[in-house]
Amino acid sequence: MSHAIITSDISVQIQGKTILHPTSISIKKGENVGIIGRNGAGKSTFMKAMLGLIAHSGGSNLSSKTLSDRVRLASWVPQDRELVWDIKVETLLQFTIEKVKETENFKAIKKFIDTKDALSITGTLKLANARIKSLSGGELTSVLIARALVQQTSIIFLDEPLASLDPIQKRTILEVLQEMSQSGKTIISSLHDIELGKEYFSKYIAMREGSVICEGTPLQILKKKQFDKIFVEKNSVC
């Protein structure tokens, strides 16, 4: 199976401080990957660097590409879900469609997903005409995932999509992510709900203090010994 993402010594320094130490990993196509670790471990930074959203050294097969090529390959679901303008859900998705239609290789897409398709995949079709400020946290997250879907990319990054959702909403989002990965998309998502996520993700990548310290299936990672190494012990290596 070929790889969706390969990073080679990707690292991030901000104001002389190393936020992400040189990291080389690879993620297979169609995998549903959870990036776990404590707050400040560098999960978001790692994802943003892979996607080329922030300045970094080294690189990934994505970040080395031009902006318009990256747009065709990977989309982003932000953690910051503060929306200032009270636009309609469908309009929000339409903005992205209008923009990516400008990119050169857009016409080459075989299976095109429009706003209605994307909203029904994430179970939010009935919200198409709702205003985004009227949505609940879970609904908004689903809508933002639908927005990533209309970008027609094979890879989707999500920055803590489960943050501040209730258990039912979390489950709904996890199901959506799992379905998307089963349909061939590569999902990379940071999360804290490692217990809840273990049935849904195919792989966990664990981070601590700006480094990836181990990778494996959720069950491997959640064994007490491993768990302690990631979350409790200092300076341990898995």
Partner: protein
């Protein structure tokens, strides 16, 4: 109300566009007719066309026409700059005068005049205003790059405004100018009284070029409604967007402020008036704001001439009087 009108098909795009254009034409006409002196309007036009110079033609063509044109330029320009800043900063409280760009531009103009550089060439005044507006804009963009809260954007503006306001006052007080107080009032509270075609030709092209920069941001502002990172992941070139905002805003604010002084709040209020009618979409807000803002300034300037006051109220005073309560209302609406 607008929902009802839309249902009744009274708010089709064409109808709205025609209405705005007709209103602009109507109020431009009124702006030419209304003044402190009653003139024989139609014979003045006829005389003007046939090249005769009477008192009436001078009042109409050399006082009222440039003033009317300036109202349209200032209104459209500042409205556009306000809508662009609100879209770029994702902040409904942003506006050139509130974030300190206008006062910085005024400082540039005053510095140029204070140092006597404007006597070398008139063009230096707008160039100074433009440069200072650009510096303020640059500071704002730099400080807001790592997403700060909405209120801190306004506080940055308060800082820049306070600094440039006091420097402006200082320069005018130190200058050997018997009319220093008048000058301070002029720069702090803008006015379109006594503008000439020269001023129109100075500010007009700058506003026009600045508008091109800002209108090029229209689609990107739509995508920016999800934040810079998401916009960037959909193909928005954030660096280029910033440059467009920087040059566009500085050109418009520098150009208008160097001629009329600070006219505040029109860039704040107008986008909020437009938004409910365009489904809150940033691009459409940007496009529809300039004509409405031009209308607003035109009406305000007519009101100034009609109001029975002893001296003429400054345009900046009226816009601030109308805008400040709205600004306070908006602050109350924010949940930060």
């Amino acid at each position: 109300m607008h929902k009802f009108l839309r249902q009744k098909k009274l708010l089709s795009k064409k109808f709205v566009a025609y209405s705005i254009v007709s209103l602009l034409a109507l109020f431009s006409f009124l702006s030419l007719r209304i003044g402190y002196v009653n003139i024989d309007f139609f014979s003045a036009i006829m005389n003007g066309i046939s090249g005769q110079k009477t008192t009436d033609t001078i009042i109409l063509f050399e006082l009222r026409l440039p003033r009317t044109l300036m109202c349209l330029i200032v209104g459209a320009g500042l409205g556009l700059a306000g809508a662009a800043l609100q879209g770029y900063l994702r902040n409904p409280l942003a506006e050139p005068s509130i974030v300190g760009i206008s006062s910085s531009a005024a400082l540039g103009a005053v510095l140029c005049i204070g140092l006597g550089i404007n006597t070398i060439s008139f063009f230096y005044t707008p160039i100074f205003a433009l440069s200072f507006a650009m510096v303020a804009c640059l500071i704002l963009i730099k400080l807001t790059q790592n997403t700060v809260s909405r209120h801190s954007v306004i506080l940055i503006g308060v800082g820049i405004s306070a600094l440039s306001g006091s420097l402006t006052t200082l320069i005018l007080s130190l200058s050997d100018n018997p009319f220093a107080i008048n000058e301070i009032v002029f720069w702090m509270l803008g006015s379109v009284t006594d503008v000439s075609y020269f001023h129109v030709l100075l500010a007009g092209p700058m506003v026009l070029v600045g508008s091109v920069f800002l209108l090029r941001c229209a689609s990107d502002l739509n995508l920016l409604s999800l934040g810079e990172e998401t916009a960037s992941s959909t193909g928005v070139n954030i660096g280029r967007l910033r440059l467009n905002i920087l040059f566009g805003t500085a050109l418009i604010v520098g150009g208008t402020t160097s001629v009329t002084g600070i006219v505040g709040f029109v860039g704040l209020v107008t986008p909020h008036m437009v938004r409910p009618f365009v489904n809150y979409e940033p691009k459409k807000t940007l496009i529809w704001t300039p004509p409405i803002a031009a209308l607003l300034i035109l009406v305000s300037d007519i009101a100034i001439r009609i109001l029975p006051t002893t001296g003429e109220i400054k345009l900046g005073v009226l816009t601030a009087l109308l805008g400040t309560p709205f600004f306070l209302y908006l602050i109350g609406q924010q949940r930060d």
